[in-house]
């Protein structure tokens, strides 16, 4: 996964996830505080620069990850720009709504850059440890940890099965595809049951009877980084409020 690749290899990998979480949260708040499309775009540019220039996330990866949601945003914006008259069924361009639509689109874009900043600079285990600090229920965190740790095992199993099925023309026609996918999913469901039973045996053998705990990584200059991110985040919000 491109996000994982970037999250583990960027320049800010060792920056505290709390600092990155605060900056993301401030970015989203600034996007919602923006009074105009230009102000929201300024937030988007600032946060993108923080990710690409500051954290050295490769531009190509950034674009590849951003492309699908941006396409979806374009489609959503297009659907908003048309109005439907139910009395005399007709569709017309909602010209009067254009400033509002541009504002929604730019706000969403700014929020997306904030989300991308977090996902491309912070590995998921760090985000889970951040959620633990935010007092997220242990059961939910356990589900996340188990989900993350088995995700790649199941993905590999799916890829191997698809390769084997494709080699036997399992996806040659739409009908074959549905049948092959059905068998793949059924096989995967059983793997879920078998793997979970094995995992349970493994944790019982290690006397685990509670939440999953892992050693948390040390982040150098954590307080300084949190202060820098909070200052820049709050400055961003204040700038947005001042210009709106």
């Amino acid at each position: 996964m491109l996000t994982e690749q970037s999250a583990y290899s960027n320049r800010w990998r060792k920056v505290s996830p709390i600092a990155k979480g605060i900056f993301t949260f401030c970015g989203i708040l600034a996007a919602f505080s923006a009074g105009s499309p230009v102000a929201a775009l300024a937030v988007a540019i600032f946060i993108s620069c923080a990710a690409i220039v500051g954290a050295a996330v490769p531009f190509f990866i950034y674009l590849r990850v951003a492309a699908p949601p941006l396409l979806f945003l374009a489609a959503s914006t297009l659907s908003l720009s048309f109005s439907l008259d139910l009395n005399a069924p007709a569709i017309h361009f909602a010209e009067s709504e254009l400033p509002n639509i541009l504002h929604i689109c730019s706000r969403s874009f700014a929020c997306l850059t904030s989300l991308l900043f977090l996902t491309l600079t912070t590995p998921l285990p760090d985000i889970i440890s951040l959620l633990r600090r935010c007092k997220t229920p242990e059961t939910l965190l356990d589900l996340m940890i188990l989900c993350y740790r088995t995700l790649f095992v199941l993905s590999e199993s799916v890829n191997n099965t698809i390769t084997a099925q494709s080699a036997r023309l399992g996806y040659a026609t739409p009908g074959h595809s549905i049948r092959s996918l059905g068998r793949l999913s059924a096989n995967l469901t059983m793997q879920v049951w078998q793997r979970s039973t094995s995992l349970q045996l493994a944790v019982e053998a290690r006397c685990n009877d509670g939440a999953f705990r892992f050693l948390e990584a040390d982040y150098p200059n954590s307080r300084r980084n949190i202060l820098i991110s909070a200052t820049s985040g709050i400055s961003m919000i204040l700038c947005e409020l001042a210009f709106s």
Binding site: M1, T3, I28, F32, A66, P68, P69, F72, L73, S76, S79, S83, L84, D85, L86, A94, S96, E97, I104, S108, F109, A110, C111, L112, L115, L118, T119, L124, T139, L140, L143, M144, I145, L146, C147, Y148, L151, V153, L154, S155, P174, S177, I178, L181, G182, R183, L184, S185, A186, N187, L188, T189, M190, V192, W193, S196, L199, Q200, V203, E204
Partner: protein, 225 residues
């Protein structure tokens, strides 16, 4: 059918999160109760979340010839129950937002409501009603999975219509507009996902009915009827 990051106004984002929170909390309560009775359920549900995530990444051939992705809400609700699907769905949606940038954090509440609450509850209810009036097993699974998929997309359309009512026709016109636009992809997808779920359940009941009964998640007695 994800609503993307930052698309909903603040009041709607907070409102949908507040609506979804009790369902997730109740789901966690039932999961905790299950884990106390059967500790192995913790592993099962965790791996089930990964399963739902992987399933949602599969390419599904659509009736119109294009490709789409299954939601897994129908299958998940039938296998693991609708209450458990709310927290599992939350984890899956959060992972999709963080790992794939699909959906978002501010729209998590709205997406949970449509994909992890409305869809699974509808699937479980339709499946139980269909089985209680002796509809054949395969057809019960098909209508449960297909209608759950359709309800998910109608819920998303309603959420968007609430947030962005049409300037001339209000909520109704906006709902018709979004529902019609999404219908192009979602109706074929619902049919494909219904067929896929039938194939999965048939394969499971045929080859692994013992394991399914051991799971004790949903009674499949008379599945082959």
């Amino acid at each position: 059918m994800h609503i993307m990051e930052g698309f909903l106004p603040v009041k709607h984002a907070i409102g949908w999160s507040a609506v979804s929170a009790p369902f997730v909390a109740y789901g966690l309560y039932t999961i905790n109760r299950r884990i106390k009775e059967q500790p192995e359920q913790r592993m099962l549900l965790g791996v089930a979340a990964a399963f739902t995530f992987v399933l949602s990444a599969l390419k599904l051939p659509s009736v119109t010839g294009s490709c789409s992705h299954p939601t897994g809400t129908g299958l998940g609700a039938i296998l693991f129950g609708p209450t458990a699907m709310a927290p599992i769905g939350m984890v899956v949606l959060l992972f999709q937002a963080v790992l794939l940038a699909h959906g978002g954090i501010t729209t998590l509440g709205a997406n949970i409501f449509s994909m992890a609450i409305a869809g699974p509850f509808a699937a479980a209810a339709i499946f139980r009603i269909a089985r209680s009036i002796r509809v054949p097993f395969g057809f019960s699974v098909f209508i449960a999975a297909s209608l759950a998929d359709l309800l998910t997309y109608l819920t998303t359309s309603a959420q968007l219509a609430f947030a962005f009512p049409d300037p001339s026709g209000g909520f109704t016109a906006s709902f018709v507009k979004f529902a019609t636009l999404f219908a192009i992809t979602q109706i074929p997808l619902a049919i494909s996902e219904g067929l896929l779920t039938v194939v999965v359940m048939n394969a499971l009941t045929r080859f692994n009915s013992k394991e399914l009964k051991e799971m004790k998640i949903i009674s499949i007695q008379g599945a082959k009827a």
